[in-house]
Structure formats: structure tokens, C-alpha cells
């Protein structure tokens, strides 16, 4: 109950902050497409809202340069990109006390190996401002080689970096950068050379899971999207039926930069995910509910959750467990999680038990109205608490 009390007190503080925020403008921003590995026009859309005082200005500040791998005076190139030859510029959209959404769009023509950082600022008619956290993304053909400086000589080696799709690059003065859950998407071999097919699939999954879906299943990830970094990886993933998956070559090396790895495939085969606190899974982007499927699979490979349906993978390594090997274990754990012991129910005839409050839950029900319920909800909340506390894992 101590934990519950702490959470409730946090809740009060946060709720009051939320209410206080009503006196200030709000601002959101997103780029589109999220990632494309060819030259294209990328549009950053920032929206300011202040229904009371009205918005007078929405501005988008960008820094665009060439993606490189850096070695910071050392020897080894980085798995996450650096930037060179950058320019800063921006756009300001001026409104007059706009009380509806004040939308500012900034299209950018991006060439190969582009790396873009943007922040959006909204100012209301009283002069109060709100600003988004800096987001960095890549565009255009990726880096394929890096130059290594070794004392008196330079050598060039084949090199690929992780390609940021939604990367938080805020570095508060004098502080360490906040920790995030890094999720990498890798193309399955079934895309062949159609890398754009993969990035289109990534867009479907990422937009639906983290940004613009309106169903219950995505509420949690949408609300906490700033606790995640999303990346695209090079070719080299290969998933097949019966839990056979691998990452080869540069994809394998680049995967060392992320916590969770999703091999995105288009053909139908059974998805398979590690039950791990950071692992590998597969996710089919061509399903009509691809974002839900990814969200479920991420429950396994990001949060260590087990399936809560008969015929699934019911084991877990989550904190707390969302399945138990006996009714007694479930009933013993439930009250400490703020859950009702009498709701412990067996998952079919599996011998595994979970807390079933009767609602549709993402680790069991393939339903867009599902949510992270009962113990899985506690596990997700604890993961986010760990991130905001400084170490996601």
C-alpha cells in the first residue's frame, strides 16, 4: 500500500501541474514521413493550442546537416550518428490570438545522409511560451562508410549507424542526458531490396503505436512517447516461422545500440518475441492492426511480459510478474500491486494464473480497445518510472 500511496501522491502533484498548465499554451510537433531512406520532402508540423488566451506565434527551429559517424577523438566510430556541416534556420507562423489549433508547417527538402533536429515553440497572446523537447531524425540514403583517425593516418571502413526516426537529443546543461527506451526496427529479408516498403511498414507501426492512433491500446505509448527513442536499422534481419530469427552483418552491430529490436516483415508467419527486458521480436506490418500487434509483441521483448491467453507464451520476467505458476502465488502478489486477489484466474487450463478484472487486456485480447491492465499495467508503469528515475533497465 506504501507504493500505492506514493503513486497517489505523485498523481496529486502531477494532476495539479496539469491543471496549472491550463494557463499556458501547449505545443506538439511531428515530422512526416518519420523516416525514408531516399531524398524527399519532409514536413514538420507544429500545433500550438491555447483556448483561453489564444496563440500568437508557432515557430519551428531546425538544424540540418550531414549524418556522420563520429569517434570523438578516439578510435572507434559510433553506432549512433553525429553531424557535420550543419545549418540552423527556422520558420515562424504568426497568428492573431488563435484560440483553435494554430498549425505551422515547415517543409524541408532533404538529401542523402541528412540529419535533422527540430524544436517547436508556441507563444500565446500573454507572451507565455511552451516548447517541445528536441527531436532528431535521419533522411535520405544512409551512411555506408566511416573514416577512422588513427594517430598519423586515416582509414576508411564500411560503416552503418542506427538511423534515428524519433530520437530525443536534449542534453540539459551540466546534466546527463535522460535515459530512454531505445527501440530499433529492422527489415526482414522478405522485403528484399524494397527498403522503402520496410520504412512504409515502420511508419504504419510507429505512427499507430506512438503517435496518431485514437484507440485505447495505444494510449500508454502515445502518452509516454517521449520516454522512447525509435530507430531504423540496416538490412540483415531475418525472421521465419517457429521462432527462427537473426540479425546479420551491420544489422547485428547496429542492434547493439538499442534495447528492443523488432524485425518488421510483410509475409505472414507466426511472430516470435523474446520474453526479456530488452530483446528481439518480429512484427508484421501488413496486418490491419499492425500497431496493436507490435504493441503486444513489445510487451514481450521490452517489458518481459507473458501472454495471458491459452496457447501463448505464458512465462514472464517482468516486474512485477503478470502471470504466476499457481493460484496461491497470484493471490499472494495481487494485494501488493493494488489488485484484487479474488480476481486471480487460471489462463485456460495452462496452469498459469493472472489477475483478470474482466477488461480487455493487451497481453490477451486482440482488440483495439485493449489496454495494459492489472499486473501488466503495473509493469509498464514501473518501467516508465525507472526511465524518469534515470535508468530504464
Amino acid at each position: 500500500m506504501g507504493a500505492l500511496r506514493r503513486l497517489l501522491s505523485q498523481l496529486t502533484v502531477l494532476a495539479s501541474l496539469g491543471l496549472c498548465a491550463c494557463n499556458n499554451p501547449g505545443v506538439t510537433a511531428l515530422h512526416d514521413p518519420l523516416y525514408r531512406a531516399s531524398p524527399h520532402v519532409s514536413t514538420i508540423t507544429a500545433t500550438g493550442v491555447d483556448s483561453k488566451d489564444g496563440i500568437d506565434s508557432v515557430s519551428i527551429a531546425v538544424t540540418v546537416g550531414t549524418l556522420t559517424a563520429c569517434n570523438n577523438g578516439g578510435f572507434t566510430p559510433s553506432l549512433i550518428p553525429c553531424r557535420t556541416a550543419a545549418f540552423q534556420f527556422g520558420r515562424e507562423c504568426i497568428f492573431s490570438h488563435e484560440r483553435g489549433p494554430a498549425v505551422c508547417r515547415f517543409p524541408l527538402q532533404l538529401g542523402d545522409r541528412s540529419l535533422v533536429t527540430y524544436t517547436a515553440t508556441a507563444r500565446n497572446s500573454r507572451g507565455s511560451t511552451a516548447k517541445t523537447t528536441p527531436i532528431t531524425y535521419a533522411a535520405g540514403a544512409p551512411l555506408t562508410q566511416a573514416t577512422i583517425h588513427v594517430v598519423f593516418f586515416d582509414i576508411t571502413v564500411p560503416w552503418e549507424t542506427a538511423r534515428p526516426v524519433w530520437w530525443h537529443t536534449d542534453l540539459p546543461l551540466g546534466q546527463a542526458a535522460p535515459d530512454k527506451i531505445d527501440v530499433g526496427f529492422f527489415p526482414d529479408a522478405d522485403w528484399g531490396t524494397n527498403y522503402q516498403g520496410f520504412t512504409d511498414g515502420l511508419q504504419v507501426i510507429a505512427l499507430g503505436s506512438f503517435f496518431n492512433d485514437t484507440h485505447q491500446f495505444s494510449n500508454f505509448y502515445r502518452f509516454w512517447k517521449n520516454e522512447f527513442n525509435l530507430w531504423a536499422g540496416p538490412a540483415g534481419g531475418n525472421g521465419e516461422d517457429s521462432c527462427v530469427r537473426s540479425l546479420g552483418g551491420a544489422a547485428s552491430t547496429v542492434s547493439g545500440a538499442v534495447d528492443g529490436k523488432a524485425i518488421v516483415h510483410q509475409a505472414a508467419f507466426r511472430d516470435c518475441s523474446d520474453i526479456a527486458l530488452g530483446g528481439l521480436g518480429t512484427s508484421q506490418s501488413t496486418l490491419t492492426d499492425a500497431a496493436w500487434v507490435f504493441t503486444h509483441e513489445s510487451g514481450h521483448f521490452l517489458h518481459g511480459l507473458g501472454d495471458e491467453y491459452q496457447g501463448g507464451g505464458n512465462g514472464n520476467v517482468s516486474d512485477p510478474p503478470n502471470t504466476w505458476a499457481s493460484k496461491a502465488a497470484c493471490q499472494s502478489a495481487a494485494p501488493g500491486l493494488g489488485l484484487t486477489a479474488s480476481q486471480c484466474a487460471q489462463i485456460g487450463t495452462t496452469g498459469f494464473w493472472h489477475v483478470d478484472d474482466g477488461g480487455v487486456t493487451t497481453m490477451r485480447d486482440r482488440d483495439l480497445a485493449s489496454d495494459w491492465r492489472t499486473a501488466s499495467g503495473v509493469a509498464l508503469s514501473r518501467r516508465i518510472s525507472k526511465c524518469t528515475g534515470g535508468a530504464c533497465y
Binding site: 494532476a15 491550463c22 582509414i155 542534453l171 507466426r270 491492465r373 499486473a375 508503469s381
Partner: protein, 224 residues
Amino acid sequence: MRRTSSLPLTVLPGALLSGALLLALGACTPPANPASTAGPTAPAQPKIRDLPKTPVKDADDPINRFVADRTVDGLVLSVTIDGPSVTLDQAVPARVRKTQRKPTGQGDYAPVTAIGFAGGARISEVAVPDSVVRALDDWNTPHRGALVRVTKRQIVIPLAAARALDTVEVTAPATGAHARLDVRPAYAEYCRAGEKAPNQGQGRDNPMCPKGPVDQPPGDQQRR
């Protein structure tokens, strides 16, 4: 019949927290634009002012400072663990994440650990999740999933290493695997190039190019 709405009062604390946050922020959701009550109106068209381009020095670029802050020299190993055996698939020197993860778990969920050595000295250690237990989900023909336990799996290990490593000791308790892997060839490409450079041998002053032969084949993948 499953309920699809109305969280019970015995709601989980996490959901309560995020729900309340949503509620609090929801309270800030602006009401419909008063003008919109009279019917659809065109969105407000702003006056646009574009700001000029100014160059950013590489040293001042926040991205470069961010990456320098978040990464350290290291070695990324890809290994295949098959029961008790460990095989090195590839090892690539790379700057890796500075923040160490601390995976937990026991039995089949016990993390894989890797310890890097150079000249017998222990340089660094990391633990990464193992991949023994998996969930198989069938989204095309429902209810054909399973809990799968594998013994052969690929593990990627980003290991910090401020200097060249010669050996990495990998342990995977889930299947009783333990091996010492020779990783010297990982640095060979760079250091060989240094030896052939005009200032021959100068590359050996780099901590990533240790003294001694660098061309030895990875023949020392001992299993214990």
C-alpha cells in the same frame, strides 16, 4: 463477456497514474473553437516568416555533444550460443552506449555476461538479456502460439572497452555456456592499415592497436 470500459475502483496504480495524467491534461484540452459551433471554418492562415540559415560549427552542434556524452569506445560482439557452446560470429570496434543496463532474471531468464580482458587485466563487464524463452503468437491463425524454449540463439553484446581487448569471457547460465573468445582480429583491420601507413608503426601508439601480432586467426575460442 468482457468489459471494455469503466476501470474498476480497484484499478492498478500505474493505470491510475497514467489515467489521471491523461485526465489532468485532458482538462487542458481546448474547447471547440467558438467559431466552429456555427459550422466548419477554414483553419487560421498564419503569416509566415522564414528565418535565415546560419552555420553551426561541428564542435558546437548539440548532436555531437550529445553523442560524446552518451557513448564510449567499445566492442560489439555477436555470438551464437548453442547449449553449452559459444561461437563468435563477429566483433566490431564501435562507440557503444555509456549507460549500462542491469538485466535481471534467473534460470532460463538469467542474463548473459561478458567480461573483457587485455593482457590479463579485466577491462570491463556487461550483462545483456538472454533469449532462451520466447513467446510464439499466431496473428493469422489464432490460438497456435506457444511458450518456446530454445537452446541455440544469437546474442549481441555491446561491451565498453577503453583499450583493445584480447579476450572476452562469455557466460550464459541458462544453458551452462561459458567460453573465452579471442577478439584480437577485430582490431586487426585498423591496426594493419596503420602499419602500412607512411609513418609505419605509429598506429601502435593507439590504445586500440596493442603491441604484438594482430593477424592471428581467432583460433582460441576455448570452451570450458
